[in-house]
Symmetry: C2
């Protein structure tokens, strides 16, 4: 089945609506809700028997701030200017950042929190100051990324921006998607489950005006007067695509997402003339905390050299570990700060010893390399400084309490959690762009089907995916509902 | 103008041929010649007023071997088994390698040398043993890549594979393309210059059956009975594409190629349903030699740590330098081995001193870091070993002769030579593939319009591009000429 078919090939339309949304995860549901609220007829086509997508599988942190702070940030005493938020995101993604997209996001992110709360998602007025992937205290605000770490703490004031549904721990996705989907149902959107979208329909002017979808094993044609929104996730579950685009991770990664993350939306968008960008970029998660005390440890490569400030976010560690020769990374830590990591039960202690020299010999690291690295680190940690990588003084302490351990965090043995960050190039409105950045009429994309705010593992922070998917899902729904209605050929 | 137009839209064909070749560089000329030799009518469409493409701008080394060695390798006493050649290329590109493509190449590369010599390209039976980008002795065989460096010297026997036209120095491209284009003319191919290909023509079965080309400012339609070959170069000269796909290099690179490297072939291929892969990969050249004595120096990052064995190929250095924080890299060298580099006149000496400690202070490197790195390196170089990066003993010598210098090779100041390695996914036959790796009938790609043998800067070696472009250009020409002829609608 071609991914794009011509309008003239369609003899009969089984359904006619204003906005057709493909995928009922965070991006699709947000798009559908906004399009309905703006007065458009909306149909949603979801491949599986229930909605939620990868958003429902996440803790559903949303990375939000700006405008002086979200209601939650402000009530908890944190001020976060739009410029400060902008500076942080630009520091995260550097030359990869889409400035127009980042600007749109920082301008609207505070209101986006009100929108989520308005859906009924409970947020507890509590700030969790600790260092954890997901606050397990029930509190709704926490630091989730590199805010407090070098070099980010030099480029923007550190502010917590992770907004987590109350008392949900890792199950925030069920909470947020539950409320979001209830609102979608109440809005009157027509939701078709077990409906696999196969193709887009293109009119004689190359405008996307509908889609073909398989329901009850029958291919049915849908005409969309205002447009089609692709919100079908990324491609981490498509092994042929991961082989093509992230071969260096394909065989070692633990694929993180839902079974529908097969790249269908991206491939249909390309077939319609869309441009896929950053297809080689991925999130590589090495959760070296909690417990946060493990942050006192130091990471070394197979040369026994440090390569990062250990107080960074887990995906930045993953990105840097992947750059080391043979993707090898080891944590050196002493008995005072060591404990079993909460995540990655696969980590193995490859050497234990009363002295660093003993550890070095046992692990086969180059003679003298680890000894120098530890001595140099300890000498400066004693003074509260890290001249090499500028790890925050909060996490600097000499590692001097034997026994010492070397723990293997090498990618091949750890099998880090990965998901893809590449997707269709879009405007902040969600409109899909060609390679010349010309708009493809009638076609929108959001969520991981698009290349969003988070574009590199190096700059990623927890909460960016859900915030991007829901925020820009909304923009796509609003944009589509504002376009003039076309009518199907009679 | 759409990049793909439907056959039914074409009222009249200005030209009818068997094989239409887009681009008259190394890949296009090789494709055209083979198609003609196989008995097909051939038309070539070249955007500029003369042929040659980027191949003519290169020294025209070809990276060849296998089958016991090329005639040149064997006559100079080098044996190179097909497996040894295969093992080397697989070591170079690892998980990025296309095994079927590599296999086809190593099986045919020795014959490819005979083909080139048969065109009239002179190769001098002389081996240049030195370490240089291009042998300036007139000799035709040299080492050009990482063959003698770790870890490659562990995975394959080091053999010189750079085949250089005789006595041409950096002008080998003019020599090879001169002979190749003479053969193309003699073969009776019809060459149209100042002919810019705009679109592919697709028949009702999605087969590519022709193209639209602008000649004398008039759009003309060409029907190709057997197929169309895209050999239009890479995209390093297309600023919007480099911004999209290699943003980390876009602003700092010195763009290396010909003005036609605008990605037109890649974009037309995508429009026809082709799949572009590795679009984020690029060659980043930091020529830290010649003079070869500079190889005795060591590179450190902004932490004052070494990060690579300095006896590697220049693009591997570029790739590793790009991974360091802030893309900073500095060469430390002593007075015994220092001299002005032949390339990169922009390199600046940022510190000179009688002691390493003085140098460290002057350059602002972390206190003690460079001193340790140099002391550790010297101590082991004295014994002829490099425990950290396994630099070959040939290039290990203690750096102890003051004054010492620190030379800036940071990417932003050096502005390294870059070109793109991403392109259309193809079979070894040159047939362009969809995302599901299904063949697009009638469409072929070669040269940097395709993703070829060299897929990462990390594993690149001089001569791989020209060898890949001409070898797989030939395969595309042969494949196209073997397909059954379709006839234009009357």
């Amino acid at each position: 089945m071609d991914r794009v078919v011509k309008l003239e090939q369609i003899e009969h339309f089984d359904f006619i609506t204003d906005v057709a949304v493909c995928g009922y995860g965070g991006a699709g549901a947000s798009a559908a809700l906004e399009a309905r609220r703006a007065g458009s007829e909306v149909m949603i086509f979801e491949r599986f028997s229930s909605g939620g997508g990868s958003t429902a599988l996440s803790a559903c942190e949303m990375y939000l701030g700006g405008n002086g702070g979200t209601k939650l940030q402000q009530e908890l005493g944190f001020e976060d200017s739009t410029e400060n938020f902008y500076n942080y995101l630009m520091a995260c993604f550097g030359k990869y950042a889409d400035e127009a997209r980042v600007r749109k996001f920082v301008d609207g992110a505070a209101e986006h929190f009100d929108w989520a709360e308005g859906l009924g998602v409970p947020y507890k007025r509590g700030f969790y100051p600790g260092r954890d992937v997901v606050a397990m205290t029930g509190d709704s605000l926490q630091y989730t990324g590199n805010e407090r770490a070098y070099p980010f703490n030099q480029q923007a004031q550190a502010i917590p921006r992770g907004h987590l549904p109350a008392d949900a721990d890792h199950d925030g996705g069920k909470v947020l998607m539950g409320h979001l989907m209830r609102n979608v149902v109440e809005s009157g959107a027509d939701i078709k489950y077990d409906a696999r979208v196969l193709s887009l329909i293109q009119d004689e002017n190359k405008r996307i005006c509908g889609l073909l979808v398989k329901i009850d094993n029958k291919v049915q044609a849908v005409y969309a007067r205002q447009g089609v929104i692709l919100a079908m996730g990324g491609f981490i579950m498509n092994e042929s695509m991961t082989k093509q685009h992230i071969p260096q991770l394909e065989s070692i990664c633990t694929r993180h997402g839902n079974p529908g993350d097969r790249g269908d939306g991206i491939l249909m968008g390309i077939a319609a003339g869309g441009n896929a960008i950053h297809m080689g970029q991925a999130f590589v998660g090495i959760a070296h905390y909690p417990p946060s005390d493990l942050t006192y440890g130091i990471f070394v490569n197979e040369q026994g050299q440090r390569f990062i400030n250990e107080d960074i976010y887990l995906a930045r560690l993953g990105d840097y570990a992947a750059r080391q020769t043979n993707q090898k990374a080891y944590m050196f830590i002493d008995n005072k700060y060591y404990s079993r990591p909460d995540y990655h039960e696969t980590t193995e202690i490859i050497a234990v010893g009363e002295t660093v020299e003993e550890l070095e010999r046992e692990s086969g690291l180059p003679e003298g390399s680890l000894q120098h690295t530890v001595a140099y680190y300890n000498q400066h940690a004693e003074q509260g400084v890290d001249p090499l990588f500028h790890k925050s003084a909060d996490w600097l302490a000499p590692l001097v309490t034997p026994p010492f351990a070397l723990v293997d965090y090498s990618l091949a043995t750890l099998k880090p959690t990965c998901f893809t960050l590449g997707g269709l190039d879009t405007l902040p409105t969600g409109e899909v762009l060609t390679a010349e950045r010309e708009v493809i009429e009638g076609l929108y994309a959001a969520g991981r089907t698009a290349s969003g705010i988070p574009r590199t593992g190096e700059g990623y922070a927890s909460g960016m995916s859900v915030a991007d998917a829901t925020f820009f899902g909304r923009q796509a729904g609003i944009s589509a509902s504002q376009t003039s209605r076309n009518e199907p050929p009679v």
